[in-house]
Point group: C2
Chain length 359, copies 2
Amino acid sequence: METITAEQMHDVAVGGAVMGTGGGGDPYIGKLMAMQSIRKNAPVALIDVDELNDDDLVACAAMMGAPTVMLEKLPRGDEIVTAYTKLGEFMGQPITAVMCAECGGLNSTTPFIVAAEMGLPLVDGDGMGRAYPELQMVSFTMHGISATPMVMSDDKGNSVLLDTVDNKWTERLARSATVEMGGSALIALYSMNGATAKQSLIRGTISLCKKIGETLRKARLDNRNPVEALRTLLGAFELFEAKVTDVERRTEGGFARGTATLKGIDRYSAHTFEIDFQNEFLIARRDAEAIVSTPDLITLLDIDTGEPVTTESLRFGLRVVGLGIPSDPKWRTSEGLKLVGPQYFGYDIEFTPIEERPL
Amino acid sequence: METITAEQMHDVAVGGAVMGTGGGGDPYIGKLMAMQSIRKNAPVALIDVDELNDDDLVACAAMMGAPTVMLEKLPRGDEIVTAYTKLGEFMGQPITAVMCAECGGLNSTTPFIVAAEMGLPLVDGDGMGRAYPELQMVSFTMHGISATPMVMSDDKGNSVLLDTVDNKWTERLARSATVEMGGSALIALYSMNGATAKQSLIRGTISLCKKIGETLRKARLDNRNPVEALRTLLGAFELFEAKVTDVERRTEGGFARGTATLKGIDRYSAHTFEIDFQNEFLIARRDAEAIVSTPDLITLLDIDTGEPVTTESLRFGLRVVGLGIPSDPKWRTSEGLKLVGPQYFGYDIEFTPIEERPL
């Protein structure tokens, strides 16, 4: 059985930032909290979903809110354990393993806090295979699994338990509670039994995050090109090398929204690029033409260090490489696209897989 | 033991509208729903709070939201029973009697629906002795009683269970959930044991509502002046006779807010009056000078029929009598004024009891 130590959280968090596609919250805070919890308790056992018994009860732990807010409003630290404990009490059955709803950004590390504090194993996988802005956007929804009962806890000590008719209503009610709680909240949700988890989980994504972090770190140590090493690992496509010329951003309805404009450099110097985001990067355009869109992943890396760049850290003059990464095949089905395709976000285009686009 | 029949709900609802001080929601819808429930089941037993055993569990049932919204978005009918049942399940102890949080407006009748549907007695009294716009504004708060656990249910089938650090946080989180639920929700809250209810309840207000309705009805039957009969019953003060000349209103943050302007008639013809409201009438001014303010009650009655006038039915040309009614003494203490005094609502005036004002 693999265990994840405090030191290894560095790699997991870097991988989480890559899979966060610019959003999901800066994994830095989550990483520090997870490291502290692991040091105080013990390394976290990372188990394969097939190791669960069919009647085991598992549930996801996550942070909800606008990444811009999370940077300034740190969690107190025990809210996530409170939310998780309350969910367990409500279910009236002990939760035997923690799951990850979103392997991108902050939420790649949040479940480690709960696992370490409660001495539970963490299941290797998640519900998104990346980060998405809304909580119904998980493979679990496609499998008819309810997000509720869901518990939300804030830094003041308030809790909200939701029981909704569908996962989109969970998102609506949880989002407005998050805004009222100050823009961020810790949540426990998507409880299910082991049998259901085996069917619905996007597998192996926590190990993948760790592998991404290792790959970037080792490439730098060996003086290899970290971006190239990552591109190979993920089967990613290079979108551009460019310099950020403008970022328009606003915090709206509990989300960080905006558009970044970039000017191509070197062999891309004839082109201008634009990327829209709602917490995560949604669509990238070259000279006003879409070149990659959700559900495929858009990730920006610092051109020199290969470090992933979040929407919050986008600033004038930053030189980045843009990568497009094929999403998990679940998201490319008609059911998947209904949940997270470009049209859901208001873009009047059909989804075209990145590998079929002329780049 | 007194019981309230479907027919008697007419009187209760009229009294509720008077105690609603222009807000609390139009009791008409609540009355129809209560009458239907009583006819389908049985008359509702109205008990004195002293009839409760000290260890009985009681809880309040109410509707939350902007009255303007409630007029257009009718409840499905079973949400309030759902909320009440879920609260009982969560408490893990059967609830033995229903209580009223707010005897003004719609919520003078809402608890009858739960009582009739669940075959429970209704306690004669409430937490406000009138209507107020926010849910922490109850005598229970002054007695340190938590509004939570509180259950909210909507017409779609969604439920939210709140567990907050204080009653003002309950209001904040419940208000935003109400807005998200479409502007209104059915709620179950302020559970407490019989001993606590005996200390904290504002007593006898449900019978008072019924008595108000009877008084107005009988005065009209006997060709006596209904306004005068009511003034005598309540120890009220006449503020003006006037004609509505302007109403500015907006639905904002889940509340119906605005200001009505009136021109005095007959012996008041030299004066102009203004009344501000946030769901309920908060303050009345004569020629820009405050003449009565919360927590004292401001009630408008149709000059001809003596029927209470809600903020939603205020319109140009309507001729009304304004009454000021002394509030329950609990509200005139420094603790009471902190919760519902004029300064809480942003008015820079000290509260002066209506009976000490020059009218």
